[in-house]
Symmetry: C2
Subunit: 233 residues, 2 copies
C-alpha cells in the first residue's frame, strides 16, 4: 500500500495495442509508478510474454506475470487459443456465421483478466486500470467493446471505498491509428507479437496477423517482425 493514488495498472499482453497503451500511459499521461500486468493462461506460445517483459524494461516500469495456466484445463475445448484445441483458422477460412464469436474467443477472458487487475489495483491503492481493447478488430469480441467497459465500470462503481475505473482509450480507434500513435511514441514494434499460432515466425494468415499487416499497410510503415509468407504489398 506504499504507492500513491496516482499509480496506474496496465494490462499488457505483448501484442501491438497493449504495448502502445503501456507507452502511452507512461509517456503521455505521465502516470508513475505504473504496474504492468501480464497473464499466462495456457496460450499456445510464450513469445508475447517475452515481448511484454522487454517492453516493460524499455518503459522502466514494474512487470508482474500472473500464472493462470489452470484456465487451459478448466476451459478445455472452449477456445482455439487454449491447449488441446482445434487449430487457429486462417482469417479467410472463417465462416461468416462464426464471426459473432470466433474460435479464438476465450470465454469471459477479459472479464477474468480485468477483475484480477482491478483487485491488484485496489490492493495497491491504485484506482486506474488501462485496457487496450479495440472494438474495431477484423472481427469483434463482445468483451472488447466500449459498452462492455461502460457496464463493467457500473459494477465497479458500487465499491464503497474509492472505485477502480477501467479505461480503454483505444476502444474507438482503428488498429492503424493505434499503430500510428505507437510510431509517434517511438515504440519498437520488433518486440511485439500478435500471431495466434505458436510458431517461430509469424504466420501472416491468422486473423491477428492479417489485422496487423493491414494496419502497417494503412500507416504506410513496415512491420519489423519476420513473417512465414512475405506479405503482399
Amino acid at each position: 500500500m506504499s504507492e500513491t493514488a496516482q499509480s496506474a495498472v496496465v494490462l499488457l499482453s505483448g501484442g501491438l495495442d497493449s504495448t502502445v497503451l503501456l507507452h502511452h500511459v507512461v509517456r503521455t499521461l505521465g502516470r508513475a509508478p505504473v504496474h504492468a500486468l501480464s497473464y499466462r493462461y495456457g496460450q499456445r506460445h510464450s513469445r508475447e510474454l517475452e515481448c511484454a517483459a522487454w517492453q516493460t524494461k524499455a518503459a522502466g516500469v514494474a512487470h508482474c506475470i500472473i500464472d493462470l495456466s489452470f484456465l487451459g484445463e478448466l476451459l478445455k475445448g472452449g477456445s482455439a487459443l487454449l491447449p488441446g484445441a482445434t487449430a487457429v483458422p486462417d482469417l479467410k477460412d472463417l465462416a461468416e456465421a462464426q464471426l459473432d464469436q470466433p474460435p479464438t474467443y476465450v470465454p469471459h477472458r477479459n472479464m477474468m483478466l480485468l477483475s484480477i487487475a482491478c483487485a491488484y489495483a485496489e490492493a495497491h491503492a491504485s484506482r486506474d486500470v488501462f485496457y487496450g481493447a479495440q472494438a474495431l478488430d477484423e472481427y469483434g469480441y463482445w468483451d472488447c467493446t466500449a459498452e462492455f467497459v461502460g457496464r463493467l465500470n457500473r459494477v465497479l462503481s458500487l465499491n464503497r471505498r474509492e472505485a477502480v475505473i477501467v479505461h480503454a482509450p483505444f476502444v474507438k480507434l482503428k488498429k492503424a491509428e493505434t499503430l500510428a500513435l505507437g510510431l509517434r511514441l517511438g515504440v519498437d514494434f520488433s518486440h511485439t507479437w500478435s500471431c495466434y499460432r505458436g510458431e517461430d515466425v509469424a504466420c501472416g494468415a491468422c486473423p491477428t496477423c492479417v489485422e496487423r499487416l493491414n494496419a502497417f499497410r494503412a500507416a504506410d510503415a513496415t512491420d519489423p517482425i519476420p513473417y512465414r509468407v512475405p506479405s503482399e504489398k
Copy 2:
C-alpha cells in the same frame, strides 16, 4: 461440451449459505448435472474446502477446486483473510468506520470468482451460475448485493451467444432464513465451516461466527459444530 444446456454451476465455499444453495439447486430446482466450483485463494485454512468436498459427495455432484493461491501474494496486505495479513478482528472490535469495507473484505474477490465461474459455465455449455450472496450479513460487502448481481448480469448479457446468468436466490434472505431452508432440506451442517480464523475449533467471536450463531439462535436450532467459547443462549 458434452453437458446439456440445463446444467448449472454453483459457487461453493463450504460455508453455510453456499452449502444450502448447493442442495437447494440440486434438490429443489432439479438441475443436473451440477458442477460445484470452489476456490483455494490463500485462505488461512482449508477446512471450508474439506467441507465443500464432503457436501458435493453428499449431493452427488462433480466438484472442481480451482487453485487461485497466487492471489495471496498478488493482493498482499489487501485483506485480513489472506496470508501475511493482520489478524481477523472480533466483531465487537470492528470500528463503525470500518463497516463500509471490513478488514475481511478481499478486493474484487467475488467478481474474480464469478468471472471464472462464468467462463467455466460457458465452456461447459451451461448458462446458469448460482451464487450464495447474502446482502444482509452482519456487515455487508458491496459485491454481495442484489445491485452488484444485477449490474454484473448487464455486463454478461452483452455476450453474443447465449449469455451466462448469475443467480443469487438468497440475496434478500436473512441468514436465519437460509439456515431454515437448509434445515428443511436436511443439510448436515456439521460439515460446513464459517469461522474466519484458521484454528481447529471455530472461535465464536469473529464476524462470521457471530452471524452463524445468531442465525442458529433465530432458527431455534443448535449448531452442530464445536466452538472454542461455548455460545451464550
